[in-house]
């Protein structure tokens, strides 16, 4: 869902800095409780990575800080869950790339940026490794399937 700068800059008539600062600790606590209840640090790390990927800040230090643990503790706890930070980033990038590539409005450069790659070539290289084909090949195959499905819907 895209919002233009003019919409993003609109002030809220309900804005209340004091209320926000009062609610913030409760929100943090509730969010932390959700992480605990979910029983999996991995899910919380994935949420943070998802949020930080497009900004190129999805590194272990930033995520650990957001979750209120040290990078070392984060690594240890992920290991207890049988995974590690690099694997989670790779898995999430792969999953998201396969979603984004089916969205015709996103260019390969935009997808690379959304996934936190500095250069489109790095994304293309990684995508080939995951999908066995280039982004444009997958996109063109996806378009053909979609046209085929539409023709079927119209009884062609």
């Amino acid at each position: 869902m895209d919002f233009a700068h003019e919409a993003l800059s609109l002030p809220l008539v309900t804005s209340d800095r004091y209320l926000l600062e009062t609610l913030r600790p409760y929100c943090e606590e509730a969010a932390k409780a959700r992480r605990t209840a979910a029983g999996s640090l991995r899910a919380s790390v994935e949420n943070e990575i998802y949020r930080l990927l497009p900004h190129g800040r999805a590194n272990v230090e930033t995520v650990a800080r957001a979750l209120g643990v040290s990078p070392r503790t984060l690594a240890r706890k992920l290991a207890e869950e049988g995974t590690n930070f690099a694997k989670l980033i790779a898995d999430l990038r792969r999953t998201l790339s396969l979603q984004y590539i089916r969205e015709p409005n996103f260019t390969v450069a935009q997808i690379a940026w959304l996934l936190g790659y500095e250069r489109p070539e790095s994304f293309t290289h990684a995508f080939r490794r995951w999908a066995g084909r280039s982004p444009s090949q997958v996109r063109s195959a996806s378009h053909t399937e979609s046209v085929g499905a539409k023709m079927q819907n119209f009884g062609a």
Partner: protein
């Protein structure tokens, strides 16, 4: 992404409570639908009770079928008071502007539903609010996703006092998994 070994995502029942209210208003028995999605024990009056996010998404889908409304999620949002989202809504509404409200939503949305992943992606012409429902198959998520999108827009309109509309809404789903009605409901341009 593998979800093996992971506790299932849960929601606060925000959407489910609205669904039950609408079913009751239309004299449609909710019990068979709740049973079908594994929520027979659900008590909408218990605000502390969490439910499976997948079950909630399925409940919204089955209610749409029972009511025969292909844009049920959108219509449900129109009848929803965003304040029912509780703490999340009050925090988001206290932000300085729409930009900060979206950032707060991204940070705290899983208080209401921990299957939702939210990212704010800056773009040259503004920003994209990207929503992803982890662990909920797309064919079970259409009404739930459209409900979420429409409630977010409604909450922003109420908090800003302006008829805010996204400049574009895109789905990572085939065309038959989205409602035609989304354009007029959200008053999208073009």
């Amino acid at each position: 992404m593998s979800v093996a070994g992971r506790a299932p995502a849960t929601g606060s029942g925000f959407a489910a409570r609205r669904v039950l209210a609408v079913l009751q208003k239309r004299n449609i028995e909710a019990a068979p639908l709740l049973q079908r999605v594994g929520l027979s024990d659900y008590n909408p009056d218990d605000r502390q009770q969490r439910m499976s996010a997948l079950s909630q998404a399925r409940l919204v889908e089955y209610a749409a079928e029972a009511i025969a409304d292909t844009a049920f999620g959108l219509h449900l949002a129109q009848e929803t008071d965003p304040r029912e989202a509780g703490l999340l809504l009050y925090a988001v509404s206290a932000g300085k502007d729409v930009r900060e409200a979206l950032a707060l939503f991204a940070r705290y949305s899983h208080i209401v539903n921990d299957s939702v992943r939210v990212a704010i992606v800056p773009r040259a012409e503004g920003a994209t609010l990207a929503l992803n429902f982890a662990g909920v198959p797309r064919h079970r998520a259409k009404q739930n996703v459209e409900f979420a999108i429409a409630v977010v827009v409604k909450a922003l309109r109420e908090a800003s006092g302006r008829k805010i509309s996204p400049s574009r809404v895109a789905f990572f789903a085939p065309a038959d998994l989205r409602s035609e009605g989304i354009r007029p409901v959200l008053q999208l341009p073009g």
